[in-house]
């Protein structure tokens, strides 16, 4: 048994520790010092402490390069996990910036604490190879998100959305756990890599297949893949907008990354194949199926939505489908580094874009009090800058060049096509994905049409934007454009990190 060097451990887990410390500090400052101050000040101070915590953690990630796996894989820190954690932190930072005008609660301290602790859960989720730690951090993230979803006590649908999210999430947790316990039982270890090594050469035994299916079902709930997506539209709609942004961005990044890790490392050797006419059992065909139905149902159901949050939810389901395709590309170890870089790039740009879209939505909700499609009418005249940002975000989600969303899709699809040695065996999936992306353009344009073309009713005044809105939404739009024009800004460091980390 390894002895533990606690200082070394603290150094490795420093970013997470900083985030937890910031969470406790927010709670303390708000409940003890700021209790009787006006709401505006409390929000600003709470947001500032949250932002400070995230920034310090980011700085630490950037300045202290570490590369180690300690305690038998319970904590694995390598350049790639550092990058993904950085992405999660940036997304949290943006979420915090969007929360500065929150009208849904007076409990500022609790709100920011939960946001930070959810982030902490996501960070541990990203940097662990251990079944137990993955489960515990998954639950930590989920619990925070359930509570955040139910955070608005004024909104009748908020508690209900939280409860639905909880029920589905609880079931997902049970499935994941049972699957993980079977993996442990078959392999006799809680470490993913060791488990794969112990199971190597056995192929897909029936019980391992059961474990695989259960794990995929559990994570399918988490990433809102069809047919496990039922909670997503309700949770997005009922949750306060910044909380919905966090669920759609940070939690998705972390869940997809850990799913990739579990499948790639823990179920190495039972990949199977989803290639046309060459199906063989394993996780690849399973993911292919989920990806197809997610893309189909997500895109088609989004066409019928009248509320923009639900529209974004179904769009998120469709994007989960594309991302599952990206996971599929990891099944073959040949092009794995490129495929992994493509996946993380997609996750990062998707997260930024989604937070941005929710940011615009949040501003509109504050002004109009709802998120109906009609509320977007005349946006280009009421707030030209905001409308422009909306164009950037929605077109990026649709995958129009030269925005980041296009390159995300491009790299992922290329990786998928290249992942099949039988040459183009997965082309059918990519063709479907491209066709459905074209469909998705329709519903994004429905929103933009209202913002730009439909004449506004008289009496709608200009929307006054605060500096926080400008900073957050504008910065995000800029990032989406920049990452689209210069994808190598993110891709080349990711590639280098993956090489060093040795996936």
């Amino acid at each position: 048994m390894s002895t533990v060097d606690y200082l070394e451990l603290l150094k490795l887990a420093a970013p997470e520790t900083i985030v937890v410390a910031a969470a406790v500090a927010v709670l303390f400052v708000d409940l003890v010092i700021m209790r009787d101050e006006p709401m505006r000040h409390r929000l600003l101070i709470g947001g500032a402490v949250t932002g400070l915590g995230c920034l310090v953690a980011l700085l630490w990630l950037a300045k202290v390069p570490v590369h180690a796996a300690v305690l038998g894989g319970v904590l694995v820190v390598d350049p790639l996990t550092q990058w993904v954690k950085g992405i999660v932190l940036v997304l949290t930072l943006c979420t915090a910036a969007l929360s500065l005008h929150a009208k849904f609660t007076e409990h500022v301290g609790e709100y920011f604490t939960l946001v930070l602790l959810a982030t902490c859960g996501m960070m541990f989720l990203v940097s662990s190879d251990d079944l137990l730690t993955i489960f515990v951090s998954l639950e930590l993230t989920s619990l925070c998100l359930y509570i955040l979803t139910a955070f608005s006590k004024r909104d009748r649908s908020s508690a209900e959305a939280g409860l639905k999210y909880f029920l589905f999430g609880g079931m997902a947790a049970a499935f994941t756990l049972y699957g993980l316990s079977l993996v442990y039982g078959l392999a006799g270890t809680t470490n993913l890599r060791a488990a794969a090594a112990a199971l190597a050469g056995q192929g897909l035994t029936p019980l391992l297949a059961v474990a695989l299916i259960m794990v995929v079902i559990g994570f399918g709930f988490k990433v809102a893949a069809v047919p496990f997506h039922l909670w997503a539209p309700d949770a997005y709609q009922g949750a306060p907008t910044p909380a919905a942004a966090l669920i759609a961005s940070g939690s998705k990044v972390a869940s997809f990354f850990v799913l990739a890790k579990v499948l790639m490392l823990g179920f190495a050797g039972v990949e199977g194949s989803g290639a046309w006419r060459q199906f063989s059992a394993g996780w690849a065909p399973l993911l292919a199926t989920l990806a197809v139905v997610s893309m189909l149902l997500g895109n088609l159901a989004a066409l019928a939505q009248r509320r923009v949050k639900r529209l974004l939810a179904y769009s998120a389901i469709a994007h989960a489908g594309y991302l599952l395709l990206g996971l599929l590309a990891l099944a073959n170890s040949d092009g794995r580094p490129e495929a992994l870089a493509a996946l993380v790039y997609y996750l990062a740009t998707y997260g930024l874009t989604t937070v941005g879209a929710f940011g615009v939505l949040g501003v509109l909700e504050r002004v109009n009090g709802s998120d109906r499609l009609e509320d977007f009418i005349g946006l280009s005249r009421r707030a030209p800058g905001l409308a422009l940002c909306l164009v950037v975000f929605l077109l990026s989600l649709a995958g129009i060049p030269p925005l980041a969303g296009f390159f995300g899709k491009f790299y992922v699809f290329t990786a998928v096509v290249g992942a099949e040695p039988a040459r183009l065996g997965l082309l059918w999936l990519v063709a479907l994905a491209i066709a459905l992306s074209a469909v998705s353009l329709y519903y994004y344009l429905q929103v933009l049409k209202r913002a730009y073309v439909v004449a506004p009713v008289a009496g709608a005044d200009r929307i006054v934007l605060t500096w926080e809105d400008r900073l957050a939404v504008g910065g995000l739009a800029l990032a989406v454009v920049l990452l689209g024009v210069f994808p190598s800004l993110l891709l080349s460091p990711l590639g280098a990190a993956i090489q060093v980390a040795g996936y």
Binding site: E160, L163, F166, M171, Y178, Q237
Partner: protein
């Protein structure tokens, strides 16, 4: 016939499926939560059995954690029910219809 690992796993499997059945079929939120507990307990039994037969204590540690996590989860879930009940006077899934599925 002596009792082996498979016997314990069958019991665990039965409990898991009973819990799943409860979550899918029952409409009372409290009973649904209890069914979730049943599913988690099924995993616990499997883990303890595996730990015993695999010469490795990690499984027991996992159960230790799962019990704690489950307790926190139940507390949050019940608080959600209480919050909802304050608004709606109900603890039934069918009444959660202001958001459509």
């Amino acid at each position: 016939m002596s009792v082996g690992l498979t016997h314990y796993l069958v019991v665990s499997l039965l409990l898991f499926c009973l819990g799943l059945f409860g979550v899918l079929v029952r409409r009372n939120l409290l009973v649904m939560f209890m069914s979730l507990e049943l599913m988690l307990n099924a995993a616990n039994l499997a883990l303890v059995a595996f730990a015993r037969y695999h010469h490795n204590l990690s499984g027991q540690i996992m159960v230790f954690f799962i019990i704690t996590v489950a307790a926190a989860e139940v507390a949050v879930g019940l608080a959600l029910i209480v919050a909802l009940y304050r608004q709606r006077r109900t603890a039934h899934v069918e009444d959660l219809a202001s958001l459509r599925l």
